[in-house]
């Protein structure tokens, strides 16, 4: 599975790019995209604002191969009335301030940090409250849920400003350091999400010999689906038994399907 990371600012992205050894993909110029050599991790700089976040997610999906098993992570800074600067939170509710739409990221693992709700604003604000403020999460989440699995899409925010230390007091280096200091927590969350991702990915493994069967016999689209389903069942019922040997003499795809059905239905069935 691949990991797709979305940061609004280059200074938020820098420590992540360094940590995962990501390289800029120069063929994409609408948004800056970085990727690891093994293509397992990629990062896009969305620029500020929820509209940019929506466009960046769509652009990323259109240009970088994504799947339903992938992990989608929005990482950035956010303000809060009294949480200490540098602390990290995982978001469990996102409210779009403009239209009051709500999203509820599904945190089904034990996160290594506390959870909190967040409001995505259209413009910066220094009126801190008991939830986090940012400018991208609602756009990111709205767009990412079109392509990914809800349980694998999350937003992580590092507190950059509060009532005692307003945003005007921090610079790009400070932001990079805030993110850099939380790389361990980010990695822990990624590890949890990788476990979940691999669990659902394992449900989509192709049965033995499926591709060979498609090469050897002709199957219509419906028959291809039937073949996949029957071979899957065959592998579960007879893990030691190789069906391709039995089917060697069969002449058509239809005969293969019939033979598979017969074997599954006419052999004694044992649950244990």
């Amino acid at each position: 599975m691949a990991v797709h990371i979305f940061c609004a600012l280059s200074c938020e992205a820098k420590p992540i790019i360094d940590n995962f050894n990501l390289i800029r993909l120069n063929e994409f110029d609408l948004f800056k995209i970085y990727q690891s050599i093994d293509k397992e991790t990629s990062l896009i700089i969305t620029n500020i604002g929820k509209v940019n976040a929506v466009e960046a997610v769509t652009y990323h999906h259109d240009n970088i191969k994504t799947s339903e098993y992938d992990i989608w992570l929005n990482i950035g800074i956010a303000g809060h009335e009294n949480i200490s600067i540098g602390e990290i939170r995982i978001i469990n509710k996102i409210v779009d301030h403009e239209d009051q739409s709500c999203w509820y990221p599904q945190i089904i693992f034990n996160p290594p940090c506390n959870c909190i709700d967040l409001i995505t604003l259209g413009k910066p604000s220094a009126e801190y409250q008991s939830c986090l403020y940012d400018m991208e999460a609602s756009g990111f989440y709205f767009a990412a849920t079109k392509y990914g699995t809800l349980e694998l899409i999350h937003s992580l925010k590092i507190i950059s400003d509060n009532n005692k230390a307003p945003i005007s007091k921090i610079n790009k280096n400070d932001v990079s350091n805030l993110v850099k200091n939380k790389i361990n927590t980010i990695n822990k969350i990624l590890n949890e999400l990788r476990l979940l991702s691999s669990e659902i990915k394992s449900t989509n493994k192709q049965p033995r010999d499926y591709e060979n069967f498609l090469k050897k016999w002709h199957f219509s689209q419906t028959e291809k689906y039937q073949l996949l389903n029957l071979l899957q069942k065959h592998d579960v019922r007879f893990p030691e038994n190789n069906f391709s040997e039995i089917s060697e003499t069969l002449k058509t795809g239809k005969q293969v399907l019939k033979k598979l059905r017969d074997k599954l239905n006419k052999t004694d069935f044992s649950l244990h």
Partner: protein, 332 residues
């Protein structure tokens, strides 16, 4: 056990909501407008959510009590079901809930009073007849009773309304709330069973057959009416041996004369639910069982089904009189 609780704004100040929240001081509490904002959203994965389901406290507005399907019943002419909760703490691989919902979170409708009001209307409608109410259709009736106080609230109502009988369908051994009160004649605690080996293969997170039997014995001692539910019957090569052992172990331990009812039903799943479950658990051997399709329902072929039913009917017939026995042959 519960790390996240979603709470509908409208019932946030309901005393039952407050009581429930107090029981999970460490859980994250998140308010929402309607539970459907979280439950059953597109792109959710039931299998992943089942690893750590959240509790959703909600209010049910309509369709509180529904007519049960025609063939569903244990002796009354009028049968209804209601679900104060959606989803179950257990993880039985044959369960239709995995196919019906995208989401594995537990939804608890806390407006019990509204359920009671609708039950009252139904009892009034059938004022001179017996009416049965089934409570464990979309959930296990007792599994979360210690936190939901379901029986604490509903039992006194049924005690005062004897023309309505309530069935608590369960695999749970959480019977303490029932043991604390006097037994009610018009309540049947109905335990579901499959043989030990089948149960340990398919009924994840449930208590063992032996523990369920202990619970039955305890409830019988205290005067509660017990039902036995062999639904679904699960086919395997050694079906006859495994089910014979199960019937022996049950009927040798419990007082079969005191049984309220015994019912049977074959494994069946609507085709679209079956396909969803196949996608969630492609390695599940149950789903490779010999099955056939009848009216968009996947079930055992007639020869297997007939053999299973006739064996079970014959064996159970040795212990239970025909008027207490309710086999359900229908698949839809």
């Amino acid at each position: 056990m519960i790390n996240t609780i979603y709470i509908e704004k409208e019932i946030a100040n309901h005393p039952r909501t407050k009581m429930l929240i107090e029981r999970f001081p460490n859980a994250a509490k998140i308010t929402c407008e309607r539970y459907t904002e979280i439950f059953n959203r597109k792109a959710q994965n039931f299998r992943l959510q089942k690893k750590n389901p959240a509790l959703i406290l909600a209010k049910k507005y309509k369709n509180m009590v529904l007519k049960a399907p025609n063939h569903y019943g244990i002796g009354a002419e009028h049968n209804y079901y209601f679900s104060h909760m959606l989803n179950c703490i257990y993880d039985c691989r044959y369960c239709f809930l995995q196919g019906m919902f995208q989401s594995a979170h537990y939804v608890l409708f806390i407006n019990y009073e509204d359920f009671i009001n609708e039950i009252k209307l139904i009892l009034k409608k059938h004022s001179r007849e017996n009416v049965h109410f089934f409570s464990g259709y979309d959930c296990d009736s007792l599994a979360l009773d210690s936190i939901s106080d379901f029986t604490k609230f509903f039992m006194p109502f049924f005690e005062l309304n004897p023309s309505g009988l309530i069935e608590l369908r369960t695999k749970s051994t959480q019977i303490r709330p029932l043991l604390r009160i006097s037994p009610i004649n018009n309540c049947v605690v109905a335990f579901s069973f499959t043989p030990n080996k089948i149960s340990s293969t398919l009924e994840h997170k449930t208590s063992s057959v032996a523990r369920r039997l202990e619970a039955i014995i305890e409830l019988q001692k205290n005067g509660w009416q017990i039902g036995l539910r062999f639904d679904p019957l699960i086919y395997t090569k050694d079906f006859f041996i495994e089910y014979e052992e199960l019937f022996d172990s049950i009927f040798s331990k419990i007082n079969s004369k005191l049984l309220h009812s015994v019912s049977l039903g074959g494994f069946r799943l609507p085709k679209n639910y079956f396909r969803k479950i196949e996608k969630l658990y492609p390695d599940e051997i149950l789903l490779t069982s010999p099955l056939t399709e009848k009216n968009n329902v996947l079930c055992y072929p007639d020869d297997i089904q007939d053999n299973m039913f006739s064996f079970c009917e014959k064996t159970i017939g040795q212990y239970v009189s025909p008027e207490k026995f309710f086999p359900c042959y229908e698949v839809i």
